[in-house]
């Protein structure tokens, strides 16, 4: 059985090195080994339990969300590690305008050129804050990067072949959301909302070799932290994907107001990747364009997976304030832009 080889080999190899010294105590490593052995032994039972159509569909979507997001998360933690190791706080201060109000648009523009998935942007934003970048600027980047980059805009153009204005509207709506949130934060935001462990400064190492060490260690730590929360998000998205029937969207028909609200909530619940949500929006052809634009603007700014990721990365106090406000701002920006452009 080829599938059993990696868990056994990997786990036992380092178990030997950690259990050996010192007192006897059950470590997480032993728990993991037991867990893996149990899972292997109970494989057939597990497979039979999961052999219900709804559970099977949910499991596929769960794995799909994880598999699809992990490469982007890995890219994000590498960028985050690189910032921690190679970009000093002084260098960042030199690049950014001193006044936060001016630095916010710069961060928005940086989001355009850095193709980034929403999961990748979260660790990068935290690293920027740790390097003394004003939180308003980092949060603008967090919101802009996944929503206005070229990959997402091209995907939108492909999904809406007859509606070039949709691309423009999406860009404007998402950019407005990011800028408004940045300015709001620079005016009203409080540093104490961040958990202390989230924003503690990491000293930039002086010599080259230890820089690589910091790079690898920061990236690894971020990956472990954020990876866990990504899994929570994937699970939630999978359950909702199965439980929320898409068909009731079609019954909304031409009720624009109701459609806008429902699509905004749906964007949060479905937690789609910003590269893919345009195709889903395009397939909901029973709806007018405005609710679908709301779906595209709200989704990359805030969804259930991002909320969990933000709570884990910045602390619950932050996420409970930031996420609902983002939702409202994104909704308003999308409606205003949609009313003007579409």
């Amino acid at each position: 059985m080829s599938t059993s080889a990696p868990p056994d080999g990997g786990a036992e190899g380092s178990a030997a090195t950690t259990v050996a010294p010192g007192r006897r105590r059950i470590t997480s490593l032993e728990v993991l080994c037991v867990l893996l052995v149990l899972a292997l032994v109970g494989q057939t039972w597990l497979a039979s339990v999961l052999d219900v159509p709804a559970v099977r569909t949910g499991a596929t979507i769960f794995v799909a969300v994880c598999v699809q997001a992990i490469p982007f998360l890995v890219f994000g933690v590498l960028v985050s590690g690189a910032i921690a190791a190679f970009v000093s706080a002084e260098a960042l201060r030199r690049v950014l305008p001193r006044r936060a109000a001016l630095a916010v648009p710069v961060a928005g523009a940086a989001g355009v050129v850095l193709p980034n998935c929403e999961c990748a942007a979260v660790p990068v934003a935290r690293r920027l804050i740790q390097q003394d970048v004003p939180p308003s600027v980092a949060l603008t980047f967090l919101l802009a990067a996944p929503a206005v980059n070229p990959i997402v805009l091209v995907a939108t153009a492909v999904a809406f072949p007859g509606e070039p204005l949709m691309v423009l509207a999406r860009f404007a709506g998402s950019m407005a959301t990011a800028l408004v949130m940045g300015w709001l934060w620079s005016r009203f935001g409080k540093g104490e909302w961040f958990a202390t462990w989230a924003i503690r400064r990491v000293p930039t190492p002086a010599d080259n070799r230890s820089r690589w060490g910091v790079f690898a260690e920061t990236a690894r730590q971020d990956l472990v932290d954020a990876g866990g929360f990504l899994v929570v998000g994937g699970l939630t998205a999978a359950v909702l994907n199965v439980v929320v029937p898409r068909s009731w969207i079609d019954t909304l028909g031409d009720q624009v107001v109701l459609g806008v609200v429902v699509m905004a909530v749906l964007a949060v619940l479905l937690a789609l990747c910003s590269e893919a949500d345009a195709f889903v929006a395009a397939s909901l052809s029973a709806l007018p364009l405005l609710p679908r634009l709301v779906f595209l603007v709200v989704g990359p700014a805030i969804d259930i997976k991002l909320f969990v990721l933000q709570a884990g990365t910045f602390g619950r106090a932050f996420a409970l304030r930031f996420a609902p406000l983002t939702f409202v701002v994104a909704l308003v920006c999308a409606v205003v832009v949609g009313a003007v452009v579409l």
């Binding site: 599938t3 380092s14 969300v65 068909s247």
Partner: protein, 267 residues
């Protein structure tokens, strides 16, 4: 959670990504273009975990540096950088964040177990029934003939199910009428009707939307849901209308069972 356990989990998860990308299983979850992303991500994960494990091993037994390890070549590097790594990268999360990051990392076990032990199948009949009648993407609301190039004059033409249903619904040039078309898909039953269906995805299986054609005639009773068929059909003209939620109907000329294609989705 201990550092060692985190590293083991990263190795397992990286291994899981590499496994699905080399066995082709990844096509059940994401579009083909993601294969390279998965391979790179898997390799990076393995590398990060390996570097951390190697570092831990070498700091635990400092007197015997291994000359064959490229990353930790010299004794003076062993004495300086790992300590700065610990103060720089790890201790902040260790003091305050430890408690918090410790628990979330356990969840990484779930995708590992899902990939190695369960290997969820590609989406099938269940998600088609769940989606009920989602209309195909409207390519154009009014005159669609310009958007559809002429079909090649083959006697039996092979088309993706999504193109078949798009042309059936929106092509005012009626390019499908009277043509024998070969379609590949799986069987779905809904409300007494039998459909040949296929899942189309934009990026990953979470954004899947079903495409289907209602089959008429042919010996369909012996093919259960989710069995894959290749069918030669002819469109029933005018069957994909608003009343049918733009799901076309087709008469079956011949059909035979096939294996699930390597890429179960259309894009």
């Amino acid at each position: 959670m201990r550092r060692e356990t985190q590293n083991v989990l990263l190795v397992l998860l990286g291994g899981a990504l590499l496994k699905i990308s080399f066995t082709g299983t990844y096509l059940r979850y994401v579009k083909p273009a993601h294969q390279w992303l998965l391979i790179i991500a898997g390799v990076v994960m393995l590398a990060l975990a390996t570097v951390a494990i190697a570092r831990d091993l070498s700091t635990r037994r400092p007197p015997s540096p291994h000359p064959d390890e490229h990353h930790e070549p010299t004794p003076e590097e062993l004495s300086v950088p790992p300590s700065s790594v610990v103060t720089g990268g790890r201790r902040p999360t260790h003091d305050h964040g430890h408690h918090h990051s410790a628990r979330s990392a356990w969840l990484l076990v779930l995708p590992v177990l899902a990939v190695f032990l369960v290997a969820p199948p590609a989406l099938g009949a269940d998600s088609v029934q769940r989606a009920a009648d989602t209309a195909p993407r409207p390519v154009a609301e009014e005159d669609g003939s310009a958007l559809f190039p002429a079909l090649p004059p083959d006697e039996i033409l092979t088309l993706p199910l999504s193109e078949f249903s798009e042309r059936a619904a929106w092509d005012s040039g009626n390019s499908l009428d009277g043509r024998a078309i070969r379609l590949t898909g799986f069987v779905v039953r809904e409300g007494g009707a039998v459909y040949l269906a296929r899942i189309a995805i934009g990026c990953c299986a979470a954004d899947a939307y079903p495409v289907k054609v209602r089959l008429e005639g042919g010996d369909l009773a012996r093919h259960p849901d989710d069995s894959w068929l290749q069918a030669v059909v002819e469109l029933v003209p005018g069957s994909a209308t608003r009343a049918t939620d733009y799901v076309p109907a087709a008469t079956v000329t011949s059909l035979h069972p096939v294996n699930e294609p390597e890429d179960p989705y259309e894009h």
